[in-house]
């Protein structure tokens, strides 16, 4: 395992210490927890946002803590949802009395742990509302299953709901825009290589040298199928059309686009993908309001990407463009 770490079991702890040492002006660690919050939390008079999940998706989620986005991030063990006591600690640390919105990616573990925390917080008299992000079109959507996963589209929820909270909106109103984002965002990913959970010490799976995996999850969950590796043009078109079709995107629609690296895929390749994405959307008469290219929701050192599209109305566009001051958003 080629990783720059100390003890695999200590990696999240070490990371958190490294974050606080690097950015004491931005972030603080709630003592004895794996929670990172805004240095100025709780922010008086503002609804607070908390997200989190397993670690290994950096900059998600601590990289989105800051003015205009999240108030707190709970860093679970690598690929493992954090426990309810940790989530509760985050909620308590950021609540200013205006209530807390939990932004949860739709995984069984995340949903259960965050829900347990919400109950505990409510029992302590804190107003808590949850939204569950499920943007991954690779997964079949059915009430009989766990439903779709939450992947890179989650970052749009952080951005837009965070901006609305910064505007001084009520918890209910922040929830409303969060739900609007969730309804209008879809993503699809693919991977070229695997990744290694530090404590596991070896890759979760392997993809043959001439193959790729379409529909890959961000925790190494297998995708929909394997295929022969293809040119960027074809990969981008495939992912994009699944997204476009699923969300029923129409000529004249206005969107934001995110071309996200799963970790090892360099910016060069992301921009090569965006050439196809940008051209395709243009040719279909879809107006690209803004394109985000980079590492937003990674999967350790996995090579691969995801493409997310968010349909915008006036309100969402304005909130998306609002100022935010965090490490991971640009």
């Amino acid at each position: 395992m080629k990783k720059l770490i100390n003890h695999p079991e200590q990696v999240v702890r070490d990371m958190i210490e490294g974050v606080v040492l690097a950015h004491p002006d931005r972030l603080k660690n709630v003592p004895d927890t794996s929670v990172l919050i805004r240095a100025d939390a709780p922010v008086r008079g503002k609804v607070a946002l908390v997200s989190g999940g397993g670690s290994g998706h950096e900059p998600a989620h601590a990289g989105y803590v800051g003015k205009g986005m999240l108030d707190g991030a709970v860093c679970g063990e690598v690929f493992t949802s954090p426990t309810p006591d940790q989530v509760l600690a985050a909620i308590k640390a950021v609540d200013s009395g205006e209530g807390v919105l939990l932004v949860i990616k739709n995984y069984t573990g995340d949903v259960m742990n965050f829900e347990m925390a919400a109950e505990l917080a409510e029992a302590e008299g804190i107003q808590v509302t949850k939204v569950i992000v499920n943007d991954d079109v690779a997964v079949e959507n059915s009430t009989y299953t766990t439903g779709r996963r939450g992947i890179a589209g989650t970052v749009f929820v952080h951005k837009i709901a965070g901006a609305q909270a910064e505007n001084g909106a009520s918890l209910q109103d922040v929830e409303r825009v969060a739900l609007k984002v969730i309804e209008n965002v879809r993503s699809m990913g693919m991977a070229l290589t695997s990744c290694t959970v530090p404590a596991a010490g070896k890759p979760g799976f392997s993809i043959p040298e001439d193959e790729m995996e379409i529909g890959m999850g961000i925790h190494g969950e297998p995708g929909t199928h394997r295929a022969k590796i293809a040119e960027a043009d074809s990969v981008a078109s495939q992912l994009l059309s699944l997204v476009i079709n699923d969300m029923g995107l129409q000529e004249g629609d206005r969107v934001a686009v995110m071309i996200n690296s799963l970790g090892a895929t360099p910016q060069m390749e992301l921009y090569v993908l965006n050439k196809t994405v940008g051209q395709t959307l243009k040719s279909r008469g879809i107006q690209v309001h803004k394109t985000y290219v980079g590492e937003y929701m990674t999967s350790l050192e996995m090579a691969g990407c995801s493409i997310s599209v968010l349909r915008l109305d006036e309100e969402l566009a304005e909130l998306l463009d609002a100022d935010a001051d965090t490490l991971g958003w640009k």
């Binding site: 397993g54 954090p82 426990t83 309810p84 069984t108 404590a199 297998p222």
Partner: protein, 210 residues
Amino acid sequence: MAITIKQLVLWLETASQRILQQKSYLTELDQAIGDGDHGINLSRGFQEVTSRIQSTEYDDVGQLFNAVGSTLIQKVGGASGPIYGIAFVKGGAALKGRQEITIAEFSQFLHQGIAAIKSLGKSEEGNKTVLDVWAPVASYLTENGENTDWAKAIDHCWEHAEKTKDLKATKGRASYLGERSIGHLDPGAVSSAYLFEALFQTLADGNRAV
């Protein structure tokens, strides 16, 4: 026959050891259809369980199970933390104040734990989860009661763990695989089998010792 609190403590210690030994195996099972952390998660949690129950004297089964459950909830994370944890917390609630329990009461504990898992996990038997071991084990104990043959009970629980191979996952992370989850063991079912195997061994040894 009664199960003493000492036996229960011994059970949990044995189970913890077993899960720690099988950490890599459980993780590999999860790599195949999940995200490759089940062994790591459960080992972390059960090690905490061991150190917690070794540092306290318990004379109340309800308290013991509550300590186990809340430790698991606080230390495991993922799906298995709440699932295992809630079963001990809610299942153990009725055993408050008891220093020893009957087999029937133990089955009752399992049934209540199962109900808690189902309600939290929105899951059912047949979804390819821990339930596919917990439920048959609970039924087996209810049926056989004091006459349970521990060796056979062990076989029974492994049979059911094995059977998860044929199931298509519809809950938890493996559900993303749909049909392709068939042919793989459910990691949670296998860790549950280790848990109950440790119980039956402890009880078998205990009976022999008596």
